[in-house]
Each structure stands twice: as structure tokens, then as C-alpha cells.
């Protein structure tokens, strides 16, 4: 997932605003200033991202060219932060695992240990659930006014703002994502989301309902209770936020299991949340592994609701465990193989840049990655050439280094898996345009890889690779590309590139996916719902829609004697 649109798009947007102003004949100096102020205020995140990621055809920045330099990778920059929280967070306190066991959190730049972290298992999940249960059944959180809940969430957002540099550094260290991406986009968006959901707390309204008979009906929207949440490692804090913010806004309490690859940042920010006034037991954080801690949470008889983001395979297990235990309702945000469709009338340079971004952003570790690039035959050759050039100019290196666009993959398992898929692409006859191998000798860096002449039945066109691999496919007409784009068990997202409003309208309805980005990609506003069709999951996160994941509806019915009206 991500947050950016690209430079060209941004400037064309600005341009159209300016043109609109000109057509009004009145370009008062003040109005232009106001527009600039407005653009700055509105797009501070985008603006910073523009200089960061979407840098088109430039060749060399700060001495880092083409896949970075070996030096940047061999001698990792030491982040100036300490890791203070490594234990489980249960009932407002940091505690060891019941077993006393720990596991290492690794630096993906080197494979070295950052810290040893308490390893939660079933017994710890039990403790956490019972704390969450108590906080819900007897505690202050669901009983305080929504306004008070919102004040605590807003104070938390303020604390995040205050500590955003450390938080971003921790995120980069544990995950390998570019520091500038974490600091300038992800943490600000996290803050923005907490503020957004703080605003929802006191706007959760039920309905009064017309009845057929003489009854007065009303619906109450009530929190579920103790909620279990399992999050992935690709965006540790944003996934934390997508889950935690709406659940808490609705008055639930939480047991959150973080990914074993990235346990650190969630512990750090949850400590801040308690400083902001969150009562103990409302948010419990368990580090640990899926088959142990994750399964215990999904299987728990006293967890009222479960939300999971991760692979489709694990999602199936989660749903099954929920079904077998207490039939807890489940929200799933799973894998994808999202098509990125470049039509014949598309602005090719713009499309190349955004297709590149869609495929490679966050080391390709995005569920919504535009991993199938469908290009119309009339612009196919030009597109391949430019896509290849752009990929070869991608700056890969130590994510703490300024100007770096791509860091290492998360761990050795992912690293090996991606290299296997690349081999499979070559073997199945796709044309390797660039990349295709590791970068350097240490850590999990992979060169940006572009395949052309990819066919629908190849593994690289079917499976979610979750790495920096772009597969480019050719198409002739709209009906064909609709059929091919939909021929996948996934349905998370799609990108559509065209200037033609009829083409845009046709594609946006025909594609069986949860998000369609038209002439943009990976735009993640707090208010935009996100989630999958088909085997990409169920339920929607963000926006007003996410409140539905954490509320249950109670209908209240009472007879009416001699009502004045029905």
C-alpha cells in the first residue's frame, strides 16, 4: 500500500487548477498565494513524497545510481535509537512471556539481531484476552463518553507527532523500508488516521426505523467487546493503525498480535498510547508467531471478533479457526495480483512512472502492488523501453540513506521466495529486461526486476510474489483486458490509465476488485475504504466502512399504544 501519487500527476493537477483560475479572468495575486498555501497544506505529504520516490527519468542522486552502491549496503548506517520495549504488553504492563522464551528481531539490511523479543504463545494470549475482557466488561473504556475516547486518541496522535523521528527510525530498522518513506509519509498518515477515527467516536449513530405495525424500532450500534487483530510486517504501523484506530473508536478492547518479523514499533507506540491516557487492558500487544500466538487468538473462545491482514493461505486458516471455535466474525484483508491497465490513449510517461511505483513501492511488498502491468499493443514497445530504464534507475541501498528508493526485502524466507519466482519467470519464457538477481552480498537486497512478454498462465502472472518484480503483458482490446484482468482468484485493486471517460467508466465497473485507481495508484486517504473482492478478503478497512467491522447492531423494539403516526 502507499500514499503517493507521482510528480507528473501532481504537477498536472496543479496546472489544471491554475488554468481554471485563469479562465476566471481574475488572477488576484492574493488568490494565487492562497492557492499555493492551500496546495502546501493539502499536499504536504504528497509533496515530500514527490521528491522522494517519483523521480522519473533522473539518473543519479547524491552519488547513488542504478541499484545503489555496494558501499551503502556493506556498511549499514547505525540508527541513533535504542530499543526500549521488547516484552509483551498485557494489561498496561510490559511482561515476559509465560514460557520465558524470546526470539530475535532481525535487521533485514544485514540479518543481524536488533533485539530479543518476548515470544508470546497460547498462555500469553489467554492472559491478554482476559485483560481485554475485563477492560471491556468492567473497565472505563466502553463506558466513558465517546468524546473522552476521542480526546485520548487525539492526545496519542500528538505524542506520535512529537516522537515521529524515533518511530520512523525504529520502523526502518526493523522492516528495511526507506526512512524517508516512513518519516514523511507513513507516520504522518498514521497520525492522520488516528485523528480521523477520533472524529468518528461521537458520530456513531444508529437509526430509528419505520415499522409495519405499531412498533417503535431503533438500532443501537454497540462495540463487539474483546477484539483480536493479527497484522503483517510490510507496513507494521499503518496496519496497526488500520486495525486499532477504528476498533478503539467504537469502544472495543484489543489483543493485537504483531508479525514476528516486525514486533518493535507497535510496542513503542502502544507505550505512548498509555501515556495519552488509554486505560490498562484496552490495548494488549503480543509479539510472537502465527502458528502459536496467532492461532491461539483466532481459536479463542472469548474473543468476540477477529481481523486479519496477511496472505490468502493464512486467511483461510484463520477463518476456519474462527468457525471451529466460537464463530467469531472475521475481517480479512489478503493477497492480490492487481492489474495495472495502460490503455492506448494513456500518457505513456505518466503511466510508466506510476506502473513502476505500483510494482516496486515498499520493495514490492504491498498487497495492492500493481504486479500485472497490462499495456495496449500500440504503446507496448515504448512502454517496455521506458519501464526498463526507470527500473534500472531505481535507487536501491541502505534505507537510512537519503535518496534511497528501495531497501532490502524483509527476511531470508521472502528473499529466497522472490528469487525462486524470478527463476520461474525466466524458465517459463518471459523476457528478463533487467534485474533478476540479488544486490550485494549481505542482507536481502534484490535488483528491481522487469519481465516483458509475460503470459497469463505463467506463475509470475498468477501468484503474489510480494517483491520488486514487474510483469508486463500485452493486450489488444478492452473486452479482452477486462476478461484477463478478472481471470484471477484475487480482487484487491486495479489501476486504469486512460484519458477517455467512457473507457474509465467501463473499466471501473467491469473490474472485480475492491479499489480502482484511475490515473493514479496506491492513493490511501483515511476516508477511502480498502479491501478485497473474491479471495482477496472480506470487509473494508478505513473510512466510515471500517466502523462496521467493529460494531454490532442491536434492534430495539417496543409496542406503540395509539401512536400519532407510524
Amino acid at each position: 500500500m502507499c500514499i503517493y501519487t507521482k510528480k507528473e500527476l501532481h504537477s498536472s493537477h496543479m496546472l489544471s487548477e491554475i488554468q481554471r483560475t485563469e479562465s476566471r479572468e481574475q488572477i488576484a495575486e492574493q488568490s494565487m498565494t492562497a492557492r499555493r498555501v492551500s496546495a502546501l497544506l493539502c499536499r504536504s505529504v504528497l509533496t515530500s513524497s514527490v521528491s522522494l520516490l517519483a523521480r522519473g527519468n533522473n539518473t543519479c542522486i547524491g552519488g547513488l545510481c542504478r541499484f545503489g552502491t555496494a558501499a551503502a549496503i556493506e556498511e549499514p548506517i547505525n540508527p541513533a535509537i535504542s530499543v526500549d520495549y521488547t516484552k509483551l504488553l498485557i494489561n498496561g504492563e510490559f511482561v515476559d512471556a509465560a514460557s520465558g522464551k524470546t526470539f530475535p528481531a532481525l535487521d533485514p539490511r544485514t540479518g543481524n539481531v536488533i533485539a530479543y523479543v518476548a515470544e508470546g504463545d497460547a498462555e500469553d494470549i489467554d492472559r491478554a484476552v482476559s485483560a481485554a475482557r475485563k477492560a471491556f466488561d468492567e473497565g472505563a473504556w466502553p463506558k466513558m463518553t465517546a468524546y473522552e475516547r476521542s480526546r485520548i486518541m487525539l492526545r496519542f496522535a500528538d505524542l506520535l507527532e512529537k516522537h515521529s523521528d524515533e518511530i520512523a527510525a525504529l520502523e526502518t530498522w526493523d522492516n528495511g523500508k526507506p526512512y524517508e518513506q516512513a518519516a514523511k509519509a507513513e507516520i504522518p498518515i498514521m497520525i492522520r488516521l488516528f485523528r480521523y477515527y477520533a472524529g468518528w467516536t461521537d458520530k456513531i449513530h444508529g437509526l430509528t426505523v419505520p415499522s409495519d405495525g405499531s412498533h417503535h424500532l431503533q438500532t443501537l450500534h454497540e462495540p463487539f467487546g474483546a477484539v483480536g487483530q493479527i497484522i503483517p510486517w510490510n507496513f507494521p504501523l499503518l496496519m496497526y493503525t488500520w486495525k486499532v484506530a477504528p476498533a478503539l473508536a467504537c469502544g472495543n478492547t484489543i489483543v493485537l498480535k504483531t508479525a514476528e518479523q516486525t514486533p518493535l514499533s507497535a510496542l513503542y507506540v502502544s507505550k505512548l498510547f498509555h501515556e495519552a491516557g488509554l486505560p490498562p487492558g484496552v490495548l494488549n500487544v503480543i509479539s510472537g508467531f502465527g502458528p502459536t500466538a496467532g492461532a491461539a487468538l483466532a481459536n479463542h473462545m472469548d474473543v468476540d471478533k477477529l481481523a486479519f491482514t496477511g496472505s490468502t493461505d493464512t486467511g483461510k486458516i484463520i477463518l476456519e479457526l474462527a468457525a471451529r471455535s466460537n464463530l467469531k466474525p472475521v475481517t480479512l484483508e489478503l493477497g492480490g495480483k492487481s492489474p495495472f491497465i495502460v490503455c492506448e490513449d494513456a500518457d505513456v510517461d505518466n503511466a510508466v512512472e506510476l506502473a513502476h511505483f505500483a510494482a516496486f513501492f515498499n520493495q514490492g511488498q504491498c498487497c495492492s502492488a500493481g504486479s500485472r502491468t497490462y499495456v495496449h499493443e500500440s504503446v507496448y514497445d515504448e512502454f517496455i523501453e521506458k519501464a526498463k530504464t526507470r527500473a534500472m534507475n531505481r535507487v536501491v541501498g541502505d534505507p537510512f540513506k537519503k535518496g534511497v528508493e528501495q531497501g532490502p526485502q524483509i527476511d531470508s524466507a521472502q528473499f529466497e521466495k522472490i528469487l525462486r519466482y524470478i527463476r520461474s519467470g525466466i524458465e517459463s519464457g518471459a523476457t528478463l529486461e533487467c534485474g533478476g538477481e540479488r544486490l550485494g552480498t549481505k542482507g536481502y537486497y534484490i535488483k528491481p526486476t522487469v519481465f516483458s512478454n509475460v503470459k497469463d498462465n505463467m506463475l509470475i502472472a498468477k501468484d503474489e510474489i510480494f517483491g520488486p518484480v514487474q510483469s508486463i503483458l500485452k493486450f489488444k482490446d478492452l473486452d479482452e483486458v477486462i476478461r484477463r484482468a478478472n481471470a484471477t482468484p484475487y480482487g484487491l485493486a486495479a489501476g486504469v490509465f486512460t484519458q477517455n471517460i467512457d473507457t474509465a467508466n467501463t473499466l471501473m465497473r467491469a473490474l472485480r476488485v475492491g479499489t480502482v485507481w484511475i490515473n493514479c495508484f496506491d492513493v490511501f486517504d483515511a476516508a477511502i475504504p480498502f479491501g478485497g473482492y473474491k479471495m482477496s478478503g472480506q470487509g473494508r478497512e478505513k473510512g466510515v466502512y471500517s466502523l462496521n467491522n467493529y460494531l454490532q447492531v442491536k434492534a430495539v423494539v417496543t409496542p406503540l399504544k395509539n401512536p400519532a403516526w407510524l
Partner: protein
């Protein structure tokens, strides 16, 4: 009632008044005419300070600034989230100055200082934060059309808004109007009441500090017939929102109709009934009835000015209320032991006393009160009339003072009939433990708010506004945000859609 003879200086240091000029385009300026008017301390009738008197020319300047800020400025072009952040800051600034602001409303309006500090001012900040959080939650819809069309709605800010607000809650009314309009992305001209111009000017100053761009929020102090009329008849104001009397509301609407047909919302007078049934808890019912009419000296549009009591409980309740009313402390609103301050000005004071005179002449039984309180200022005793008939003036007109009219009823049907026997329909209260009575009566009363076993229970999320001649359009809740937005439908053909 008891009279407190406290000297306010012994309770609170009266703040120095800092802002007395018109606030136009981010600057405090004199009125074009150079004229000023006195604002009076109702505790003493003495002049607090002189304030710039805005008139038509000043309204023109303010509208010009608001128009420019809307058409060219950043405010409506910021994301809802960015506007919300600025409003959050505005709310924080209001909270930082809570003592000073409460004191200003106390000297200007005679309101209880303790209530301002614990209620009016923090609640205003709360309301502001509510809409700050709502600014990025303005959703249009995509529509199911009956033809091959893709259609959706956009909710757009309505433009330049004129707010004309009353003197009874100078702070509360200011934020009731301004908060949702700001969140919606509108720009505005606010005219506070001539009786209470001071806190609005202070809020203009805080708005600027919070980062609200110049021209977005303009404040014109002045009189209704001049500045107010100029707003409601202005050709370049897109919407006027008025709170005040039904008589003036009619003029505002007429002016809107004869000028540019601007959209109007009106929150007007009331003669709200409080219905107490036989099964009610007497103590609780007596408290609700007294608070309902005496809160803010009866200067509240939703006051429970008609208390309808079922015959089985009537005698006991009347006795209880009369006893309680006699312990009510009237005096200097800065004194923390005081329950009730002075009426806002001489005009209101005289009007309330004249209604009391009417009540006596019309044959209602005066149970307690009925006289001015003390020698100085505009204090009036808590007053209860019994045996009031539907056709008496004190049962029909909005008195806007601490005067309760008690009536007796036998059946639920009679209670509903009496309750609805008014041209107003702002609010009503029901006191009963019986679920069926509560359900039936709450649907049968033609009023915009029904309080069951509570009264004056306002909440940021509860829309408030009248039925019948109490007005139209809601303040508070997300409904108020919609009041400052208009809906645009966007339609485009689609071809070969897999579904419709």
C-alpha cells in the same frame, strides 16, 4: 428565594475588555460611520465599554472579504482534515482562556460565572471539536440510476453565510452557528446581539490565532434593524442562519425572499411544555421543572415555560416546587452560591415584569415570586403561577424570564392536546416511568426535541431545532453540517456496465 449581596470583585477579577471593534478580513477596524454603542452590565445597568456600531456599509465590507475568501482563498480548498486541525487548535485556544471568556459573558449577559466556566465555554470547545472531527466526514453518494448512467453526489460548501445570533448564550450560540459552517468550508459574517457583543469579538481574535485565514470569519457588532437587516437582505450572501424571536425570524425570511432568495434557517421562540405524569418521582420532577424554567434566568428558547401536571400528583408537586423555588438564590452571577443572575437588560426586565402583571390580572394564582429582586440591576424573583388557562397570555407568549405557568390535566389525551395547543414546537419534556406513555407522548407532541425524564439535555450529536413557528433547520449534530452544504449531482453515461 434568597438574595445574595456579594460583591463580585471578591470572587473574580473582572477582565479588561480588549476587543471592541468590528472584525473584518482578519483586522479589528472602526465602523465606517465611526459610531459606537454602549454595552451594559446587567448587574448594575452601568456601561462596560463602547463598541463599534456596524451598519450596512460595514456588512458590505465584511461580505466582500468573506466572498473573496470563499471564491479565491484557501479555506474551502483545504481538505476537511486540514480545516479540522485548525478548528481543533481554535478549540484549544478557547479552553486556554476559559476564565476570561466566562467572565466576559457574565458581565455582558448576567450569566452565572460558574456555569460559564464549567458549562458554556467548555461545551463550546466540545462542539467545535465535534465539527472539527466531522469536517472530513462529509460523504456524498454514488447513486443507483434507472438508466445507463454513472451518477454521484458531491456535497459542496454553500458559500458566504450570514449568522445572526442572540444574547442569551453569547458563546454557545456563536459556536452553534460558526462551528459547522467553518467545518463545511463556508466563509461567514457573524452579527452578535447588540446586548452581548464582547465575547464574539474575542473569538474572532482566537480564530485568527488558530490559523483561520483572513476573511473567513468576520464579526460585525451592531443592531438588528441596521446590520442584521443588511445581512438578511444582502445580494451576495448565500445563506442566512438566524436564532432569535419568531417576530424577527419572519423579517429575516422576508428579507431573504425579497433579495436573492438566499437559503434560510431559523431557530426561533418556544413555549415548551413539560408533562409530568402521576407515576413520576416527585423530587426529580420538581427539579426538572425548576431547572427547565429558571436555568439561565429563563432566557432560553427551550425553557419549560408550561408545566403540565397530572391531577393525582399535582398538589404534592406544586408544594414541592414552591418550597424548592424559595431556596433558589438570586444575586451577583459571580457569586458561586448564586443560582440566578440578572435579566439581560432593562427592556427584558420590564417585559418579564409586565407579563407577571398580566398573569395576575388574568386570574392565575401567584404561588411565589412575582417581584424584582434588590434595588439595582435587573434581578427578578423566580415566579410560579398556578391555575393557568390555555388562553391566558402567560400560557401563550414566550416570556423569556423566570416565570413558570402551571396547568393541570387528567388524561394522556388531554395532556397531548394541551401540549400541542401552541404555535410553537421547539421542545418538550416528559416525566414518567411508564414506557407506553413515554413512547406515545414523544411521538404525539409536535416539537423538535423531546426530553424524557431529563430536560435541557443538549448534546453535540443531538440535532436541535423547531417544528411549526419555532423555525426550521437544525443546529448541532451532523444535520447542522448539512445545513451549510449543498448537493450537486454529477451524471455521465456508461456503456456495457456489468450491472446497473
Amino acid at each position: 428565594m434568597v438574595q445574595s449581596n456579594g460583591n463580585s470583585e471578591s470572587f473574580v477579577k473582572i477582565p479588561k475588555i480588549k476587543f471592541t471593534k468590528l472584525f473584518i478580513n482578519g483586522e479589528f477596524v472602526d465602523s465606517v460611520s465611526g459610531k459606537t454603542f454602549e454595552t451594559i452590565d446587567p448587574r448594575t445597568g452601568e456601561v462596560i465599554t463602547r463598541v463599534a456600531e456596524g451598519d450596512k456599509e460595514d456588512v458590505d465590507l465584511a461580505v466582500k472579504a468573506a466572498r473573496h475568501a470563499f471564491d479565491f482563498g484557501p479555506w474551502p480548498r483545504l481538505s476537511g482534515f486540514e480545516r479540522g486541525k485548525i478548528l481543533m487548535k481554535f478549540a484549544d485556544l478557547v479552553c486556554e482562556h476559559v476564565e476570561e471568556l466566562a467572565a466576559i459573558d457574565t458581565i455582558d449577559a448576567g450569566k452565572l460565572f460558574s456555569a460559564g466556566k464549567a458549562g458554556d465555554i467548555p461545551h463550546a470547545a466540545e462542539l467545535l471539536r465535534y465539527y472539527a472531527g466531522g469536517a472530513d466526514k462529509v460523504y456524498g453518494k454514488t447513486l443507483k440510476t434507472a438508466s445507463q448512467h454513472q451518477a454521484y453526489t458531491l456535497l459542496e460548501p454553500i458559500g458566504v453565510v450570514g449568522h445572526i445570533i442572540p444574547w442569551n448564550f453569547p458563546t454557545g450560540m456563536f459556536f452553534l452557528k460558526v462551528s459547522p459552517a467553518l467545518a463545511a468550508g463556508c466563509t461567514m459574517v457573524v452579527k452578535p446581539a447588540e446586548q452581548t457583543p464582547l465575547s464574539a469579538l474575542y473569538y474572532a481574535h482566537l480564530a485568527k490565532q488558530a490559523g483561520i485565514p483572513d476573511g473567513v470569519l468576520n464579526v460585525i457588532t451592531g443592531y438588528g434593524e441596521t446590520a442584521g437587516a443588511a445581512i438578511s437582505s444582502h445580494m451576495d450572501i448565500d445563506k442566512v442562519s438566524f436564532t432569535g424571536s419568531t417576530e424577527v425570524g419572519r423579517k429575516v425570511m422576508q428579507a431573504a425572499a425579497t433579495s436573492n432568495l438566499k437559503a434560510v434557517s431559523l431557530e426561533l421562540g418556544g413555549k415548551s411544555p413539560l408533562l409530568i405524569f402521576d407515576d413520576a418521582d416527585i423530587d426529580n420532577a420538581a427539579d426538572l421543572a425548576l431547572i427547565g424554567i429558571l436555568y439561565n434566568k429563563g432566557e432560553i428558547c427551550a425553557a419549560s415555560s408550561r408545566v403540565l401536571v397530572q391531577e393525582g400528583i399535582y398538589d404534592k408537586l406544586v408544594k414541592k416546587m414552591t418550597e424548592k423555588a424559595k431556596t433558589w438564590v438570586v444575586g451577583d452571577p459571580f457569586d458561586p452560591t448564586v443560582h440566578q443572575g440578572p435579566q439581560v437588560d432593562k427592556t427584558q426586565f420590564d417585559k418579564v415584569l409586565s407579563y407577571i402583571g398580566h398573569g395576575k390580572r388574568e386570574g392565575a394564582t401567584l404561588l411565589t415570586g412575582g417581584k424584582p429582586c434588590g434595588e439595582r440591576g435587573y434581578y427578578i424573583e423566580p415566579t410560579i403561577f398556578a391555575n393557568v388557562e390555555d388562553d391566558m397570555l402567560i400560557a401563550k407568549d414566550e416570556i423569556f424570564g423566570p416565570v413558570m405557568s402551571l396547568m393541570k390535566f387528567k388524561t394522556i389525551e388531554e395532556a397531548i392536546k394541551k401540549a400541542n395547543n401552541t404555535r410553537y414546537g421547539l421542545a418538550a419534556g416528559i416525566v414518567t416511568k411508564d414506557l407506553n406513555i413515554a413512547n406515545t407522548v414523544s411521538r404525539s407532541i409536535r416539537a423538535g426535541t423531546i426530553w424524557i425524564n431529563c430536560y435541557l439535555a443538549f448534546d453535540a450529536s443531538c440535532p436541535f431545532g423547531g417544528y411549526k413557528m419555532s423555525g426550521f433547520g437544525k443546529d448541532m449534530g451532523m444535520e447542522a453540517l448539512e445545513k451549510y452544504l449543498h448537493v450537486k449531482s454529477v451524471v455521465t453515461p456508461i456503456y456495457n456496465s456489468p450491472w446497473l
